[in-house]
Amino acid sequence: MRRVEMAVITKELAGEIARKLKAKLRKQSRRHDIFAVYHEGKMVAQFGIRRGSKKNLGHDHIPEQIFVGTRDARLLGQCPLKREDWVKIITEKGKV
């Protein structure tokens, strides 16, 4: 019996997170679009979104890149968590 698993953060959700954080596309490498998140003129985080047409392409590495847990990253992409909330979280973690 094999459990059918799926990445928590899909490419679609990763795109939503980028949009929500108002991330800017900084570079297009061979395999990723690299987005950077700015706060008060400073780059505070950056992450890569994989190239590929599949919407469910796994991006479970993104939570670490933006200094939050998987749950918060998902909430960020799905709306309940706002950009301001995220900034507050990473400020408390000393990442700003």
Binding site: M1, R2, E5, M6, A7, V8, R26, K27, S29, R30, R31, H32, I34, A36, H39, G41, K42, M43, V44, A45, Q46, G48, R50, L57, G58, H59, D60, H61, E64, Q65, F67, I90, G94, K95, V96
Partner: protein, 199 residues
């Protein structure tokens, strides 16, 4: 004794066939004569009137049926138990195999990074990245630099991480340190220790 009636002794009883007796009548009579039970008889079709060549009655069929069931159970139950035990063992083995596979996938592995070829970057000193299985994918992480990448396979995750490392290195190298938050600043410093651009 009638020449057409061959006596057959079975369980100590004699059976005689009457002249012009049909098979059905014979069976009925045998059943009646031999009491409650099952009568088995074989009739020779070549003779006319027919001749009983074998006959036997089963008077105490209930006892014999019980014995038969007992014999069947005695022979079959151990086989069933063995089959059930084997089936349970097969299930356990399949379960353990699945768990082993899962553990193998879940166990993080350390992978040394010694080159970025063919990309134009050099490794100043080799470093290790951790590859782990999470949900349905592999995540490769260079924890010191807080850089991670996902992939469908371990190899893909590592290749993707290398891509992220070099891309991040490029971005951060060209960025003024005053415009970097603590996270990216740390990334820049760590990456500067391990990689540099060729030429």
């Amino acid at each position: 004794m009638d020449k057409h009636a061959i006596q057959t002794v079975c369980f100590g009883e004699k059976v005689e066939l009457r002249k012009h007796e049909s098979e059905t009548e014979l069976y009925s009579r045998l059943k009646e004569e031999h009491g409650f039970g099952w009568v088995h008889a074989e009739i020779c079709p070549a003779e006319s009137p027919r001749v009983v060549i074998k006959a036997r009655s089963v008077r105490d069929w209930d006892r014999k049926f019980s014995m038969l069931i007992d014999t069947y159970i005695a022979e079959s139950v151990p086989k069933w138990q063995e089959a059930v035990r084997l089936e349970a063992l097969q299930k356990d083995i399949a379960d353990l195999k699945g768990r082993c596979e899962l553990l193998e996938r879940l166990s993080p592995i350390l992978v040394p990074i010694e080159t970025f070829a063919p990309e134009p970057y050099e490794v100043i000193k080799p470093f290790h990245v951790v590859v782990r299985f999470q949900d349905s994918e592999y995540i490769a992480s260079f924890f010191d630099a807080n850089l991670s990448a996902s992939g469908d396979t371990q190899m893909e995750a590592i290749v993707n991480l290398k891509d992220i490392i070099t891309a991040t290195f490029d971005i951060l190298t060209n960025e003024n340190e005053k415009k970097l938050g603590s996270g990216p600043l740390q990334q820049k410093k760590v990456l500067g220790e391990f990689i540099c651009a060729k030429g």
